[in-house]
Symmetry: C2
Subunit: 262 residues, 2 copies
DNA sequence: AGAGTCAGCTGCTCTAACCAACTGAGCTAG
DNA sequence: CTAGCTCAGTTGGTTAGAGCAGCTGACTCT
């Protein structure tokens, strides 16, 4: 039934053609409109918020969300972290995903990048160099992200662009939290310049190779491949009726320390 | 603060290495554990459920979710439907996304598909033919999905496979609900057989072309391209403080009719 | 005219109670 | 003795009412 409430709110957004940012009915209004209690309305809204469909602002109102891929990053990052800790190769899978998509894309349109995009890429690589010199790790990463975003801007497909940026975000968030690899900024810069040069030359194969080298470099930094499959632990849940002892109470209480987001 | 509760539950899953299907503390336990009211716990769980991170079963308990891409389908489908109704080209963008990823992938590994996978693809195309003859639209679509899934199984990257299946699901759900194109089952079968033959031949370029033809065919069925950009309607929300009249109360009340999921 | 205050929205959290689904122990009837 | 039922006790689902917190806008005092 809670699911039903969500569906009805979604239907309301669809039927009214509400654009991103449009105000939704207030909680009391939704109560009367849907004929359910305040609590149910709130739970439905919370779920929709988690999916990025609505945007709730305290003391202000509820609005149609931007429908970005942000919640997907959240889910992907969590899935990756959880898998990593369970001994799966999730981080490598995520990197392979980026590699597969990006190399496929660059092969498709690398030869027809307009000059203005090339110029922007050039400027970005220059900025990366400068930041590598200055030792500004954070800004370097941001520029790295911008580089990859600019590379696929020419596709004129915002959905695709958002998705790739989402993958980038998820990967870097998890990598930053899980593995503490000593970055070599200069190498990173060089790889990106290689990619740019290859793209500028219009040589599709060379561009693909440069990109693959870049990802290969990243992959080696993840360390040796872990056991391909996880420990196959515990029959995948399936029918866990045996709710034995509810586990020793974990120390979750007041840990605002180590609130590293995960 | 509600966000904080979600984070702490996520942290609990991570820290305890809980696998999919493992039981989580009950709601009263979480209340004491986190020191918040039941209501807040429930709202956090609802949000996590929406992201597929936990699985709530009435009268049974709360469990760690399968972390599948299902919630992403939900979000993607909604985003696409909403965009479509707002005059954007969202459905075409989604199709282009599939095309870009799949053509990129097939180029990478089409030439090294093991014989067993080829045999499975063959069997699937045969089944598609049979279903096309029988006029079983639904089963045909399912087999179509299986075909595309089998095509990328050799990559041994479950994340990638799930994502592609998620794209397929989202696209077909939206297409089924939005546009009522008269399918020509035989053509669909032929296109898939072309892809299979090309892949079997080991000719990468031919495989890529076959796949691109397939998507091109789908694209033409979406009708002529809509205005590249949306109507640019209403400054993208941004700072909608002007909460004017809350809109005429939409008829959402008792519509279990037309509960077509959207 | 400008700054402060207050009433009124908004969403946020808590408490308490009851409803509904499911389990498992114990009872009853065969 | 077993098959089936019933009934307590668990779980999550829903409702109600109260008060708290953030924001806005108009009103008032300086």
């Amino acid at each position: 039934m809670a699911r039903d409430i969500q569906e009805r709110i979604k239907k309301l957004i669809i039927d009214q053609r509400l654009p991103s940012g449009a105000p939704l009915p207030t909680e009391p209004e939704l109560m009367k409109l849907l004929g359910v209690s305040r609590n149910s309305v709130r739970e439905a809204l919370k779920a929709l918020q988690a999916m990025g469909l609505v945007d709730i602002r305290h003391g202000f109102g509820t609005y149609v969300g931007q429908m970005s891929m942000a919640p997907m990053i959240e889910g992907l990052a969590f899935r990756t972290v959880a898998g990593h800790y369970r001994g799966e190769d999730s981080l490598r899978q995520l990197l392979e995903l980026r590699e597969a998509v990006e190399t496929g894309l660059v092969a498709q349109h690398a030869c027809r990048l307009p000059e203005e995009d090339l110029a922007e890429l050039e400027a970005l690589v220059d900025r990366m160099d400068a930041m590598a010199e200055a030792g500004a790790e954070l800004e370097l990463a941001q520029t790295d992200r911008d580089f990859h975003a600019a590379l696929y801007r020419g596709l004129r497909n915002p959905l695709l662009s958002e998705l790739l940026e989402a993958f980038w975000d998820a990967f870097h968030r998890v990598q930053r939290d899980l593995v503490d690899v000593p970055q070599d900024p200069r190498t990173t810069c060089r790889r990106h310049r290689d990619i740019l040069d290859a793209v500028r030359s219009g040589d599709v194969l060379r561009a693909e190779r440069a990109l693959r080298d870049h990802f290969g470099h990243l992959r080696t930094r993840l360390g040796p491949p872990r056991s391909g499959q996880p420990v196959a632990g515990g029959a995948e849940g399936e029918d866990v009726r045996s709710r034995e002892s509810p586990r020793d109470p974990v120390a979750v209480g007041g840990s605002s320390l180590a609130a590293r987001e995960v």
